[in-house]
């Protein structure tokens, strides 16, 4: 007989993978923003610095929210 806990893990797995992929995409966007703004600042263009910082902070909030969601999912079994 299969372990019911392992079964639940298997069911949660696709959701978790989707969240992980989304997290990866968001971090890549953040990395792209960071490098672009760094290049801009070195070229004395400062206009994008604040919008990029706000976007990066929003992405971080989404990532933390997803991480807390995963923790809640684990706590609920």
């Amino acid at each position: 007989m299969k372990d019911p806990r392992a079964m639940r893990r298997r069911q949660k797995s696709p959701v978790f993978v989707a969240l992980l992929l989304f997290n990866l995409v968001l971090v890549l966007i953040q990395l792209w923003l960071f490098v672009s703004v760094l290049e801009d600042i070195l070229a004395s263009h400062f206009a994008m610095a604040i919008p990029a910082a706000v976007t990066s902070a929003v992405i971080l909030t989404v990532n933390i929210w997803m991480l807390r969601g995963i923790d809640r999912m684990d706590a609920n079994g």
Binding site: A6, F16, Q30, V37, I41, A49, A53, S56, L60
Partner: protein
């Protein structure tokens, strides 16, 4: 045999992978935090008033040395920092670094077009604030801050212009 294996490796294969991926998720969120902090720090740094630098004031010319529409070369703040002082047609004075921001050729004043011109690659800068009007220069000319003290014109600092978009 199976009992032994389960005792030595009590974590299920699926669960083991799940835990690894969850740790990876945490690591990526941590990286996301680092990038966000870096971006906010760059935004704060970009807002610092760092483009004006004062140096020891230096008398660069007498007011009688210039007429409207004429220019005069001088050095500031170091002897090797070439600059150009211009009396505009309206009588006011402006001064800029003379080094083109492209490849450091010396720029000249063109009174007929009221601009600073670099003959090396046809770059041109505005006489009003030093911004790039044409050509390959990537940045505006640094402006020399001036003060009129009696009949003398003094250079008191350098103001780096922000690049236009």
């Amino acid at each position: 045999m199976d009992t032994h294996v389960n005792q030595d490796f009590p974590i299920d294969w699926e669960e083991d992978h799940y835990v690894s991926r969850r740790e990876f998720f945490k690591f990526m969120t941590l990286a996301s935090g680092g990038l966000a902090v870096g971006s906010v720090a760059m935004a704060a740094w970009s807002k610092l008033p760092r483009n004006e630098r004062t140096f020891e004031p230096s008398s660069i010319a007498m007011r009688t040395d210039l007429q409207p529409g004429k220019a005069l070369a001088f050095s500031y703040p170091r002897p090797k920092d070439l600059c150009i002082l211009v009396q505009k047609p309206d009588g006011s004075y402006v001064a800029y670094s003379r080094r083109c921001t492209h490849l450091s050729c010396p720029v000249d004043y063109q009174p007929d077009k009221d601009r600073l011109f670099c003959p090396c690659h046809n770059g041109a800068f505005s006489i009003e604030d030093g911004h790039v009007l044409q050509g390959p220069p990537p940045h505006p000319l640094p402006q020399i801050m001036l003060e009129i003290r009696g009949d003398e014109i003094w250079a008191v600092g350098v103001k780096a212009g922000e690049a236009s978009a």
